[in-house]
Amino acid sequence: MIPLSYYLILSGVLFAIGMAGVLLRRNAVAVLLSVEIMLNSANLNLVAFSRYIAPEQASGQMFALFVMAIGAAEVAVGLALILMIYRNLQSVNLDQFNIFKW
């Protein structure tokens, strides 16, 4: 069987790639894409732990399904916010989202 640490390292690397996207990209939609990468790498971790530590309970799979629901809600609200800001500022560049800046 594949060692559990392979899955942990893989999901750590994928999480780091998603975090790089959040830190590097200036386009708000691109940041949302990177957040999806991070959510899915965490989900992979949950399912891997469920398979290796307590396979007869499948509790990690339940958590993964909850995370999916949260992720879907997050995308809907995030895109609605981006659309509204785009309508007001004519831009999706995060550096220009500074209307609250004093």
Binding site: S5, L24, V29, A30, M62, M68, A73, M84
Partner: protein, 168 residues
């Protein structure tokens, strides 16, 4: 499943997942980035099948590849500046990112490689769909109801936020 075959599948999916994730993050064309996100989500679904989590894998394909990617494509097209040339996105603050990423990955690998986990030898749940359905209706009934209310609230909120102001 044969041990060698599962290792080969694992590393093939790892290459697919990491390369598509890198392309999502570094790609200058957002439309292509969304397509590579779909590929990444499919490779994660492959891992769920490898881990014997059939229902989660199917939900990954339905909800993420079928739903979230389409919604994100809508978002990309609705916020595209008039000419498609502006679909690009620049990269900034490289050094902070590199330092934080190297420390994060280093810490995670350092922790993961030496930790000894109590790996259970029990066989996984065979019929995941009926098992998870029963769990949702018994042990997890409260989180299930809470998350359904949350989803409803989030979707209504998204509609209200995105609506044209002063719209009919």
């Amino acid at each position: 499943m044969n041990d060698i075959i599962s290792h080969v599948i694992f590393f093939a999916l790892a290459i697919l997942a990491v390369s598509s994730a890198v392309l999502v993050v570094t790609g200058r064309n957002l439309f292509h980035a969304a397509m590579f996100l779909g590929l990444y989500l499919l490779s994660i679904a492959g891992y769920y099948f490898l881990l014997k989590a059939d229902l989660v894998g199917m939900m990954q394909v339905f909800v993420y590849v079928g739903g979230v990617v389409v919604v994100l494509l809508f978002g990309i097209m609705l916020t595209a500046q008039l000419t498609n040339v502006r679909l690009t996105s620049a990269l900034e603050q490289r050094w902070v990112t590199i330092v934080s990423l190297v420390s994060l990955v280093g810490l995670l690998v350092f922790v993961a490689k030496d930790t000894v986990f109590k790996v259970s030898q029990l066989s996984p749940v065979e019929d995941t769909t009926s098992f998870i359905g029963k769990m949702f209706m018994t042990d997890y009934i409260l989180p299930f109801e809470v998350i359904s209310v949350l989803l409803l609230a989030a979707l209504i909120g998204a509609v209200i936020i995105a609506r044209e102001e002063g719209g009919k």
